[in-house]
């Protein structure tokens, strides 16, 4: 039987794992070997699946996550038992918080050793259960093909999420007669619901009878790729569009109806107009506290129409007037069809005039930090230097929120961030995963120095595996977001935030064989980005900025959007 033949037969568990992964379309795994997953690695050696070696298992999970978000097919990561498995947990939890499809495969001590506190044993199923969509531990080799099939199905259907397969070493080694089923049944899992036409009709009626309607697009819009449907609805009804941070770039941010993200560091015009709206069409969002400020204030005087694939999100954080459960792309399509058969709303009336006025006001009057290398100026420079199809990931912190404020996403679905768990160190390995999924476009990690520190050893992976991404390092030598909170809420009692100019990122990059550049003016920055775009190796662009620059506007935690703090 040839290696590429996915047919049934007698083989060991580890070989069945590779065949099952191949059958799911897996072309590469991100991982790191160890004692308990050596049989898998031995079969990986024999298979045509590419292995991408990481320097820390957390990065393997983030790479698989980045790959999954961009390709919308589960990314696969491998880790050994014990510490290998616990290291991927943060990556799994990150994927769960942002509904990203992933299949993590961990080795486990042999079945007979489980429960004996064996060397490198950890109850990873028990630890991971609260942060996975599902977790399997096959106890016999013959279960592996079915577990992989179900794992991929669960990871990529409905509201996507991470699945963990924890495979004891002897289960990898044991031989069994394998079957690779296409058909299977999970009694308690019904990922798709067709949108209820009557609810969509009711939602449309509510929008048409409201005075100040607005669209709030969340991350679900990006996951279901509902870009053209969202735009069609917005344009037909002439409704302004705000997004959540995770929904950033679900709607072109250079579109006249776009107001950008709302929330803690939302755009001033988006927060203002969200507060003034009387009816919101919320698409694929869980109404995170970071987006809405306070739940009570947000739902006051506001009719909420909620479209979501996950029925458990309806009414979880906000009271809903109309709920449309189902894939949001399918739900929006129903609405587009309804709109085609009736007169459009026209020019949007007084409300849209007001929206335009508010948008214009903030475009002209939002104060930005002084100096040539302010966050706004460097991120606008990056935008102008990148093609619209470039994929951007971010780390977590001030640079992330500046990216939200000042980097406009033009082509929908090209911006990804750890928005839910807020995992520092996510952006760089995720960019590597994204580049594997979309090798033909530039991939840029908008990074901060604090976050980049956490997974900077992924430079080895980027260089050795020939996956050239760009790290756009907004360097304030500080754990800047914490520093901002200490300045704002703790009377400048600064502790634990100063990184003291260590390391030198240009030298660091070069020591890995990557390109290291420093940009101290906008001209140097433009040249550096240009050089990075044509580079065959990864590039780190170190961009020193003022450590005192705050992210503004700022809605303090536990306060409503209307009380946002503005730059003075």
């Amino acid at each position: 039987m040839s290696r590429l033949d996915d047919g049934a037969g007698k083989m060991i568990g580890a070989e069945a794992l590779m065949r099952a992964l191949r059958k799911e379309g897996t072309r590469q795994v991100f991982g790191l070997p160890g004692g308990a997953n050596l049989p898998m690695y031995d079969e990986l050696y024999k298979s045509d699946i590419r292995h991408i070696l990481v320097r820390h298992e957390q990065s393997a999970a983030h790479m698989a996550d980045g790959f999954g978000r961009v390709s919308r097919k589960p990314g696969v990561c491998f880790a050994t038992s014990g510490p290998g498995a616990t290291n991927v947990l943060t990556g799994i939890a990150t994927a769960q918080a942002d509904s990203a499809p992933m299949v993590a495969v961990t080795g486990q001590v042999p079945v007979s050793m489980i429960g004996r506190d064996a060397f490198q044993e950890s109850d990873i199923i028990g630890m991971a259960n609260p942060v996975v969509k599902y977790a399997f531990q096959p106890r016999s080799a013959a279960e592996i093909p079915g577990a992989v099939r179900k794992g991929f199905y669960i990871a990529e259907t409905g509201r996507p999420g991470p699945v963990l397969l924890d495979i004891p070493k002897d289960v990898q080694q044991n031989e069994a007669e394998m079957e690779f089923p296409d058909e299977f049944k999970i009694r308690g899992y019904h990922p798709w619901t067709d949108p209820d036409i009557a609810s969509v009709e009711k939602a449309l009626g509510m929008i048409l009878s409201s005075q100040r309607p607005i669209i709030l697009a969340g991350g679900g819009t990006i996951i279901s790729m509902a870009f053209s449907e969202l735009q069609a609805v917005a344009e037909a009804l002439m409704m302004p569009v705000v997004t959540t941070f995770k929904g950033k770039g679900s709607f072109p941010e250079n579109h006249p109806l776009s107001l950008g993200p709302i929330g803690m560091h939302g755009h001033a015009e988006a927060n203002r107009l969200m507060t003034e709206a009387d009816c919101v069409l919320a698409v694929g969002t869980r109404f995170s506290d970071r987006s809405v400020g306070t739940f009570e204030e947000f739902e006051k005087r506001l009719k909420i129409i909620h479209m979501d694939v996950d029925p458990a999100e309806i009414g979880k954080n906000q009271r809903t007037s109309v709920a449309v459960v189902g894939d949001v792309r399918a739900s929006l399509r129903v609405m587009v069809k309804m709109l085609a058969s009736r007169a459009a709303r026209g020019d949007g009336g007084e409300w849209l005039g007001h929206v335009r006025e508010v948008k214009r006001y903030w475009k002209e009057n939002l104060k930005i930090h002084p100096g040539e290398m302010s966050a706004a100026r460097i991120l606008r420079k990056l935008r102008s230097a990148l093609p619209p199809e470039a994929v951007v990931t971010t780390e977590v912190g001030q640079h992330q929120m500046w990216a939200s404020l000042f980097y406009d996403v033009i082509q929908p679905g090209t911006f990804f961030s750890s928005t839910g768990l807020g995992t520092m160190g996510w952006g760089f390995p995720a960019a590597i995963g994204a580049k594997v999924a979309r090798p033909g476009v530039p991939v840029v990690d908008i990074a901060g120095d604090g976050s980049f520190n956490m997974t900077e050893n992924s430079l080895a992976t980027s260089v050795l595996e020939d996956i050239p991404v760009i790290v756009f390092l907004v360097n304030n030598f500080t754990l800047g977001m914490v520093a901002q909170w200490q300045r704002t809420f703790y009377d400048r009692r600064m502790i634990g935030v100063d990184q003291k100019h260590c390391p030198d990122y240009v030298k660091l990059a070069r020591s890995y064989g990557a390109q290291g550049l420093r940009a101290q003016s906008l001209d140097e920055l433009g040249a550096a980005v240009k050089e990075a775009l044509s580079s065959e190796v990864a590039t780190v662009i170190d961009i020193p900025i003022d450590p005192e620059e705050d992210v503004l506007p700022f809605v303090a935690p536990g306060t409503p959007l209307k009380d946002m703090i503005l730059p003075s």
Partner: protein, 169 residues
């Protein structure tokens, strides 16, 4: 079960059919913990289908909270069916063992009389204590408990509530 245990809240009995596999009880109880819900009582047992177990969970919350926990349970891949039982259409039973102190022969007679009135069985009758087994609806159990309390209940063991909705409802 209709009485209120706090402002705006109510007792809710949830009947959950789950895959009969190891680790599912952990997942269900963990979901309650992670969503900040308390489990007042729980009973678990296999159903007529050996691959399926029924969990009966009593919890407390306002309407929105209970609706949310039902949805989160429904979302779990291992749950096959989740029902918030309607108290008017459901038969509830709990089995409780009480050990009751006996001060005198008269106490013994009265406890036996009380047990008789509630259809309870008497076990392990001794000079100074008696064990009573009561299988009844939760309000009956509470009433019995109140009447027995003055004698001195020294130990209690409960199975948790088992419940089934009546056919056609």
């Amino acid at each position: 079960m209709a009485e209120s245990g706090g402002s705006g809240g109510q007792w809710a009995i949830l009947s959950i059919l789950v895959e009969n596999r190891p680790g599912i009880l952990f997942k269900v109880t963990h979901l309650f913990r992670s969503r900040n819900f308390n489990i007042d009582s729980i009973s678990v047992g296999v159903t007529e289908d050996p691959d399926v177990s029924r969990m009966t969970i009593t919890t407390y919350g306002d309407e929105r909270q209970v609706a949310q926990v039902v949805k989160q349970l429904d979302k779990m891949i291992d749950t096959i069916e989740v029902r918030h039982l309607d108290e008017h259409k459901t038969v509830y039973r709990e089995l409780v063992l009480f050990k009751i102190r006996l001060g005198s022969a008269k106490d013994s007679m009265e406890i036996n009389k009380l047990a008789g009135a509630y259809g309870a069985k008497v076990h392990d009758a001794r000079k100074d204590s008696i064990m009573v087994e009561l299988a009844a609806a939760p309000d009956q159990v509470r009433a019995f408990e109140e009447l027995a309390a003055p004698f001195g209940i020294t130990e209690t063991a409960r199975t948790g509530i088992a419940a089934l909705q009546r056919s056609g409802s």
